[in-house]
Symmetry: C2
DNA sequence: AGTAAAATCACCCGAAAGTATGAGCTTGAA
DNA sequence: TTCAAGCTCATACTTTCGGGTGATTTTACT
């Protein structure tokens, strides 16, 4: 880090205040030699110094406390669509009495595959898939594959 | 509000500091009468006052300034997963060359309705709906109604 | 070993979906 | 007026879907 080179820059304010302080003292010394001190009591002089330097101290403190308040950031990230990890609604699965294989078929159904394609995908016969789909429709109480998929998605049986 | 009754309580600190200030001045006056001032130069005395009251001012300022606002970064993830107002993706509609009627049929298709039901809903014949669906599948380059609905949803052609 | 649930497969039949082709009608723009 | 696009409808045909029934095999559990 370049601490040494930055020293005067970073302490610029402190140095400046020190100079002002010295200047003020010098000014008072000069005033003392003239007409002020001679004619007034010492208490007034001391009180003036106290007041002035109290004010200076307050001013210094207020100015020098630089990390006054770091900005409070209120973040409001708004996610419109959430594609987070799919969690199976096991309660509904159990309630409907759907088997694992039926859920599997349901998933492929949702992909828009035909029964024939599903059969090939699962290495079983077309008739098997037809039996599965029939059972699925029965358990879901729907008439068509489209409705089955819609219902399954809304019930969190298959990923959206 | 009970401003009057709370005055002394609220300004307790200020009053205390004022008393301390007076006490310090009195202490200095007492010291002056004794051995300090007599034997030392006035500059030293003034300097001491300046330093003490500068420190006092700083201390006052730090104490009196309201408690530093602590920096708190609050993260609030807000999930708006429900379907906000559906906006039609007109660009895609135009690109695919879909007519209004076809979009209408597509919407009903997504509800899981059969061709016959769609026909009754739109007061047209079954054959008309079959023509529409065929054209839709052609334009969307899909083979089945399920795939058409999936694609239409992902392209924002119909509400989710 | 016995049993119940799940998974597999087959056959039939009717309904629905999808393909292909042609055509009438309306409307808005060139 | 002509023309293109959109909407409508029809006929014919093929494919897929869905319902119903029955049967065998696998798996898991008692």
């Amino acid at each position: 880090m370049a601490n040494k080179t930055n020293f005067f820059i970073r302490n610029k304010n402190s140095i400046l205040y020190g100079l002002i302080l010295a200047l003020l003292l010098f000014l008072m010394k000069w005033l003392e030699l003239r007409y002020v001190v001679i004619n007034h009591s010492f208490e007034i002089y001391a009180g003036a110094i106290a007041i002035i330097f109290t004010a200076l101290g307050i001013w210094l403190a207020l100015k020098l406390t630089k990390p006054k308040t770091s900005t409070i950031v209120v973040e409001k990230p708004v996610f419109i669509q959430k594609e987070d990890a799919f969690v199976l609604n096991k309660k509904e699965v159990e309630r409907l009495g759907l088997s694992n294989r039926e859920l599997e078929v349901l998933t492929l159904l949702a992909e828009g595959l035909s029964n024939q394609e599903i059969a090939q995908r699962l290495f079983v016969s077309l008739n098997t898939i037809k039996t599965h789909t029939s059972n699925i429709f029965e358990k879901l109480a729907v008439k068509r594959r489209m409705q089955a998929v819609e219902l399954a998605k809304s019930l969190q049986l298959i990923p959206q």
